[in-house]
Symmetry: C2
Subunit: 334 residues, 2 copies
């Protein structure tokens, strides 16, 4: 299989080396924020291929040791710095079992990058402070992997369309910053006073809700949170909703949108509008992005734009963002 | 394949009718508390069979519409009352796609029970107020299904051992009530004062942590919560830990125990002992239960025993348990 010219060269090389005729399973394995991109990856694969897959925290993956893991499986891992020890251990474990391994990282010379069969480099503004183009992001790399797998396993070949869409994504994100900017001013000061803020999403966007809850609200602002699935909300969590409770609802435009719409209606019926920050993807200008991928790129737009919001929240809280940690990158012995 | 005499007759009948030679996938589908038992079901299947499986919220399952769903797949659903509309819709959707369907419910004449190919009745103290024997519970039924599938798809045939273990489970739960009772007295009054209580677990017990967080703490006591995976804890959530934050850690004895041990150590290093309720399964007397299933039955023991704890907490909060809802079973139009 030859790959479109603009495809990530390391993704093309990795996928060209895999025997898809024998491939039976894909494991998406990572921790924390890197795990959060594996949920939308599986969502995309589920809709474009009949190949089965799992998403696992890296330590859970190794300790669970799924019986299905073996030479006919592919394990896709991710760690931004490439130094997450559980993820590197998972890569080594997978290789011992004979699986093929792809590792996404900003540093191919890192422990993860050197442990896997195929390192795939991406870029992250988070590490350098320099803005990146979304086509070079972790989402872009994992989606190129997924659509490549789908094309190679009997799904429609959408690689040209995907790569064209990814090249137009940064412009859509820049436009989204303008679309959502008024929300930040309206909600930042009020949200800064909260001890608890829930996030909510479904489908392709659930991973972004998870990441915003655990890596941003909890990790960097010490605000209590949970990423509630938009339908699970109605089976227990909604009982915490009252006129004071705050939510960030990520209303996507993939095939699960109706779940978010139902949650939105309920939130506004029993909560107060000033406590409910809704990012509605239907309000975005996504021109240049194939309609078949618009729902998939939305979580990256949500997550990228919400950075602007949380910096405003942090200013009101007088808690500096990345320095606002007690344990991560400060302790080494845990 | 003939089934052990004490196996659930409806499980034996269902599994006897399925063409396992053609079976390619199992979907575990439900909402809320019923979804929480699907996580340990998948954990057991992953370790005993190479058949792939997924766990999905019922509305997510239908909206996602995985391409793999078809005549060669089995969909196992659960709704206690059998009236959960998303789960019944998922059963109908699965049948339209040609899948076989098994539905666990206390009421086989319910919408879910009548929508599926094979209804499987279980008992729940929750609906009748009458104590049940754990061998008749939802966990027992789903584990009999899983080990039956494993035996029929190339895994070891552990059905006799499983059913013997399940018949000895209630006695183990009764003993566990004694083991853990001193904890309830020590923690109930203090935990009753909290606005936020996190639960934590991994492996077979993650579903019990999820259920206790969303169906008990949030739904019945309006206490903010999240079920944190014991390793994901270290990738963001741990930053909310300080000398005031409360946790319920379910320390299992399955193959992921080391993850819980690491979390336990960290919680006690930076938190205060009075805020950290640890249920350690290693302290239980599990005689009569095959060692290969001890880790799997532990979440049911955790969940059952924690009911005693939450009733004590509710007394201090003066919030009656099942009447403590604003929306569920009170509204009908959402």
């Amino acid at each position: 299989m030859s790959f479109p010219e603009r495809y990530h060269p390391a993704v093309s090389a990795a996928l060209s080396s895999i025997d898809f005729g024998a491939l039976r399973h894909v494991y998406f394995v990572a921790c924390g924020g890197s795990l959060s991109i594996m949920h939308p990856a599986k969502f995309m694969l589920d809709q474009h291929s009949s190949l089965p897959s799992d998403v696992f925290n890296a330590a859970e993956f190794v300790a669970r040791a799924p019986k299905r893991l073996g030479p006919d499986t592919l394990v896709v891992l991710c760690s931004m710095t490439g130094t997450t020890k559980e993820t590197t251990a998972a890569a080594k474990f997978a290789k011992e079992k004979g699986a093929s391994t792809i590792g996404l990282t900003v540093e191919p010379e890192s422990p993860l990058g050197t442990a896997v069969d195929y390192p795939v480099k991406f870029e992250a503004p988070y590490t350098t402070g320099v803005p990146i183009d979304a086509k070079d992001s972790n989402y872009s790399a994992i989606y190129q992997i997924v659509i490549g797998i789908a094309a190679a396993t009997g799904g429609e070949d959408l690689r040209e369309s995907l790569i064209g869409s990814l090249y137009n994504l940064q412009a859509a994100i820049d436009r989204a910053q303008e679309t959502y900017a008024p929300l930040w001013d309206r909600y930042a000061e009020h949200f800064a006073k909260q001890d608890v803020i829930y996030t909510m999403a479904s489908g392709a966007s659930y991973g972004a809700a998870y990441s915003f809850a655990i890596c941003v609200l909890m990790e960097m602002q010490w605000i209590n949170s949970q990423a509630i699935h938009s339908n699970e909300f109605f089976h227990g969590p909604f009982e915490v909703l009252d006129e004071t409770r705050c939510f960030v609802l990520m209303k996507g435009i993939d095939s699960t949108r109706a779940l978010d719409e139902r949650a939105d209606e309920f939130l506004h019926r029993f909560g107060k509008a000033e406590n409910i920050l809704v990012l509605d993807a239907a309000k975005l200008d996504l021109s240049g992005i194939d309609e078949r991928f618009q729902g998939n790129v939305v979580p990256l737009i949500f997550f990228d734009t919400l950075w602007r919001f949380i910096y405003k929240v942090a200013d009101f809280r007088q808690q500096v963002m990345l320095d606002g940690r007690r344990y991560m990158k400060k302790l080494t012995d845990y």
